[in-house]
Amino acid sequence: MARLPVSPEKLIEQFGPHRNYPPQEGFVGRDEPDEIVNTHCCFCGMQCGIKLLVKKNHVVGFEPWMEFPFNEGRLCPKGVQRYMQNNHPDRLLQPIQRQEGVGFQNTSWDEAMEKTVSEIKRIQASYGNDAFSILSGVSLSNEKSYLMGKFARVAVKTANLDYNGRLCMVSAGAGNKKAFGLDRISNNFQDLERAEVIMISGANVSETFPTLTHWIWRARDYGAKLIVVDPRVIPLARTADLHLAIRPGTDSALYGAMLKYLADHDMLDHDFIENYTTGFEQTLEAVKDYTLEWAEEVTGIEKQKIELASQWWGKAATSFLLHARGIEHHSKGVDNVVGCINLVLATGRIGKPYCGYGTITGQGNGQGGREHGHKCDQLPGNRDITNPEHRKYIADVWGIDEKDMPGKGLTAYELIEAIHRGEVKGLLSICFNPLVSLPNNNYVREALEKLEFYVCIDFFMNETSRHADIILPGSLHEEEEGTVTTAEGRVVRIKRAVDPPGQARTDTSIILELAKRLGAEDKFTYNSSEDIFNELRVASKGGTADYFGITYKKIEDNMGVFWPCPTLDHPGTPRLWEDKKFATADGKAHFNAAAYRPPGEVTDEEYPVVMTTGRVVSQYLSGTQTRRIGKLVDLYPEPKLEIHPELAAKYGIGQDEMVRVSTRRGSDEFPANIVETIRKDTVFLPYHWPGKKSANQFTPGTLDPVSKIPEFKVCACKLEPLGIKSPPSTDSQAFASV
């Protein structure tokens, strides 16, 4: 029974989101903290080093961690305010259970656990093991990610486990595995510093990874040329040497045309292509008709600019290509990714100093979390759950019979569809807020309402968990020991700064207790996070993401270790492929043909405008944390529809006037922000907000056939001006919209 027990307004009143501000005269004791804990920011994949100030089991402030090599004290606004998630009035302090007509009532851990376990058993007995599903998230540490994978397969015995990385890096992961046989950025970010040309595609670095900007600006201080591909003039693009304002959904056409240009003008590294790659001919064949004129027609970028970009890229001695969700959130996300990789391989600029390529992983542990097995098709060490050898190895590590290990399950969005169809009846979720982060969220809501039992582990009640039957209060980033792997592939240590408040428990202890009650106690005998990590090391040994040589001590001594690190005396691998031996079966890098095809939904007479979605600097993902931090909310209080003055004039929309935005999936009203910094045919909405303010009520559930990532970045919409001025943003209450 997963309908809301009472109105959402009533739940918000009790459980938030409420905005947390520091006390007017500051936190008591900040000047003389009991402890200063060197740890990391809980937000994006940069995982900047930060010191937390602790007084009486409360985080009361921060101090920059100047020595941590990636950020050297630098932080973004989210990082500065991250400590405000602690001491939060919305914090769940006790297990609660749904009570129809009342809301949620406190219950004991014992009862909550008992109910959860009996419901799991009931559902699995009636509908089969896979009818109970698990959705996990990569805000979890490596240890917890590993534990969730093992918990699902060994304790719950379900195949249906997936994670929110499915909305994040899977296209990049799939593309990288196809090309290199391994899924990690090729170089650490310091290698950006002396790259001659930097191409950044579909990555709003300045808002989503602000601290990465430093390394790009350093390169520019040394004279690097910056090419930015984005439908909007993002802050990074304003000063870029070349801004390619691409039409959303046409990325692979651009890379295809650039590849053809490189080939036509012989700007290729023939030696590299010949000796270290395969598939070049077929790949080139696929783009043989992609002239500059054709590309201009498709992408909307002037051909002179495409030509210039190709020339710069072709002639550079060193280069770095970075991309992110902007090219990955597409029904052809994998094609876009391999399109980028093809450009890198064609010029042979990889595996050398200042020559790099990679995706900028979005979530805090987006890298580590996608390696250790809470993905439906994966086992620890980035092993394949369908590969018999891999299954055997992990089954042995876990001490189970390989035959008892479930197979490949459904991906996140497919899982929601299966719930909607009534095939999956139960759900356990942790660190995932699909009602805000999945596309077509009205459909997601319908699915949630069909669940027979839903249990959520989280520290705050988010929009999705309002639908839960039981909520188990888990732990914040700073409340448990562990490791995460940054976007650079650097494994770093997360330190426990404080203990979970009230009756809240660490996520690990909750999972272990559930495993015990499900009868798998003997498989889950850990005394500490380090114990779990040590098992993970063994489980990842021999896999592509090999952590075996990494220990807690080694990480602390070196402020991080880059995987692969196969042996204890191995120093880690900040730069991949220096030996030009790739992790593919044949040891070569693979070109992959990527012919252009249009996005899943194109504009037509009824829905004539292209809509794209993205982020703002002050919010993180679905906002469960950042929509509760007052100062971050105030920086960008509500989503606004960015629209070009010409398009606005066409529809008679004035600045700050309300516009009704509609797609085939939803319709709502947003204030217009008329700016020249967006393509004339495209509108933009940031997605961090729920309910009526949600951008994902509009986005389609079209999936990439390989990675199963949904197409967040392009759909067709129509606009109707309402002719009324929007109320001030500060009054919008969008952070708690219903």
Binding site: Y21, P22, Q24, E25, G26, R30, D31, G61, F62, P64, M66, N71, G73, R74, L75, C76, P77, G79, V80, Q81, S206, E207, P210, T211, L212, T213, H214, W217, R218, D221, V233, I234, P235, L236, A237, R238, T239, V617, S618, K631, L632, L635, P645, Q655, N673, I674, V675, E676, T677
Partner: protein
Amino acid sequence: MPETNYQTNQEFFVDMQRCIGCKACEMACAECETNGHDSMIHVNYVDRAVTIQTTVQVCMHCDDPVCANVCPADAISKDEFGVVHTANTARCIGCSNCVMACPFGVPKKNEAYDLMMKCNMCYDRTSAGKKPMCATVCPTQALFYGTREEIARMRPNSSPVNNFIFGNEKVSTKVNIMMPKGTTVLRVD
């Protein structure tokens, strides 16, 4: 002032073209102990309708501060290091003369407090030998605090400029703005 460990060889260097408008500095400024939870730094769009350009402005700490001159209450003072301090809370009468007269648009009037507040270069940190909070966290180093040698090494094609012309007025400051190499003055009109 009490005993300090103020590093006189360290200076402030600003380059607003590096600014990405992320407002990390604004958040960090409010973590500085001298101004409570109010932020003193300014980040604003230059003209959002046509450009995403943002600018970032700390107090420039003028040699002859206009703000202190126009203060009717003698509330603003400059110390031995050239740091122009925020309004003396006992004296400030909240008239906003400094707010409107500062050629850089720096002082802020807090209406609820009836008090002007401005950047004092994180005096609690700089007087203890640390860098200001904003320059420490700035992810683009549009705000840089360090020695002249460091900035010269890192940005060899730029020169620090601390002379500004506003109409007929020439203003010299303690804080530098990074300009193309060889430039000595920035003309604003």
